[in-house]
Subunit: 322 residues, 2 copies
């Protein structure tokens, strides 16, 4: 029954709200007015709601329509990310600017960056290769890509690097989990003692965690499950599989609306820098330099301390060396 609403109808709805007329919205989408009319009717029937108030001189969204349009915009925004992302993947070969990004960066940030770059330079073809942090240096040295983004704890040797954003790994659990009722931060010992949902070895996220644990004098984490993408980890946590350590970037929205809860940990520093890296001989010019500028503008340290992880502020002091 469900019959998911199609994105073009959602866009039409949003547009109707913006321009205040059904035929106007139709024109902007390159449709005729009757098509738009029918489409909107179908959408309303499917959702079982009256979304627009049709008058003889224009159409307004109803209250329900405004609410749905809001949700629709969120859908469309993600859809746009998907589109710019796929376009970048597609032009991998013959792009003017070839970029390699680790999974987390590719999933959460790259579409936005590329989208913004292409807003000022629409003719620029950007090719994106998504891979593991480990392989980015090789791609750069071989000249397969011009610019890379890594999330590993240290900048790779022999490459120029510049921090473009700061990220933080968070311990997250599903809303009902016992850890959400703790009044004190988790200790490192408690963290390593618990079976965790983790990214696989070799991923930047896992590397960061392993190294931070070593620095804090703790051993290896105990994998309950190892998964190949941040989203997969996130899903497992939401499904109640167990706690996970995951990038703040990947779960920002879930924390905001409470699908996930972050748990403070003390005695360990889980912050990390996301870096742009490139072959150190070269000077960055042209498209690569422009993209780097975009990332620097966007990734201002402004937005870093976003997720102070709890009533217990995350420990800024370095963990005690044992």
């Amino acid at each position: 029954m469900s019959q998911l609403p199609d994105p073009e109808s959602l866009r039409l709805l949003v547009l109707v709200g913006d321009v205040g007329s059904l035929s106007g919205a139709a024109a902007q989408l390159g449709l005729t007015q009757p098509s738009a009319s029918k489409r909107l009717s179908v959408l309303e029937r499917r959702l079982g709601l009256v979304l627009v108030d049709r008058t003889r001189r224009g159409s307004q969204l109803t209250d329900a329509g405004r609410a749905v349009a809001g949700w629709a915009q969120r859908v469309l925004q993600e859809m746009e990310g998907l589109l710019t992302g796929t376009e970048a993947l597609r032009t991998k070969r013959d792009a003017e600017l070839r970029v390699a990004a680790s999974m987390t960066v590719a999933e959460c940030l790259a579409p936005g960056w590329i989208g913004e770059l292409r807003r000022t330079r629409p003719e620029l073809y950007v090719g994106l290769q998504v891979t593991n942090s480990e392989q980015v240096p090789a791609l750069l040295r071989s000249g397969a890509v011009d610019l890379g983004f890594v999330e590993s704890p240290r900048a790779p040797a022999g490459l120029s690097a510049r921090q473009v954003a700061r990220d933080r790994l968070l311990v997250v659990v599903a809303p009902g989990h016992p850890w959400t009722r703790r009044r004190r931060p988790l200790s490192v010992a408690e963290l390593v003692a618990a079976p965790l949902v983790l990214r696989e070895r070799g991923s930047g996220t896992r590397e960061t965690l392993d190294q931070a644990l070593r620095k804090a004098g703790a051993g290896e984490p105990l994998p309950l499950l190892e998964l190949g993408s941040a989203t997969a980890v996130r899903n497992a946590v939401i499904a109640g599989t167990g706690p996970a350590v995951i990038s703040e970037l990947a779960v920002g929205a879930d924390l905001a609306d409470g699908r996930l809860v972050s748990v403070a940990v003390e005695g360990i520093d889980l912050r990390r820098d996301l870096r742009a890296v490139w072959a150190s001989g070269r000077v960055l010019v042209g498209p690569a330099a422009e993209l780097l500028a975009v990332t620097r503008r966007r990734g201002k340290r402004d937005r870093v301390p976003r997720a102070a992880t709890g009533p217990h502020p995350a420990p800024p002091q370095p963990p005690p060396s044992p």
Copy 2:
């Protein structure tokens, strides 16, 4: 040309990644295997990418497929919010639990809450009415709804209330804006002197801002544009219209990926409580109590300090009374 990908195909892609087989995924969607095969081919052709690696014994996602599946999940997640939201809007009349929420709460939080409630109580029909903070008390008193959510600065008189989440208004600008290059927090005087994109009067967001400015000894804000929903305000800022004061909840994702930048302000307290309210005579029982429990679990004060607004931590001290 663009031809947006349809959500069911995206879901199919994600499912293929999860179950590792095209026919298996088809079965879960209630499709036959040939249909799924064709659908996936169409999706690949539309996106211009090879997404799955078909072998004779199962199918795996390619690297590109994994990336696209990640973006697809974000789309589907928002779509799910839209669906639970519309379902709640639809059952407004004959619901077992009737809820009224202000715009911001309805847009950002309500779908998540209702979705979670319905995960444990699938048979429960929840009706959602989205309205202005001002009108919630009247709806409660008339018995039209059982539970309300408001974002106004003070709890309405004569109603029982409980804080369910904490929110904060942020000053946000587009990435290139001069304010992003400031090294010192904005003063209240500078804020009121600048023309701002604002919500309309009567909205909880506007009320909060107006009152906070009064408390800080400043005058009225200067509206550059007044818009009726948080998303509309957000769009205007992204489009470069000007700075806005807007709920952190509405722009969390944009801050995370750098589409927007928040600017620290000193001398004013823009935090606010989101409250559940209900007719004070009644004791909350049944569905209403359950929903309240969900909101309390999810809205743990854990997640509050998420957006410390900058290199300059937001001032926790109350603004100096003039």
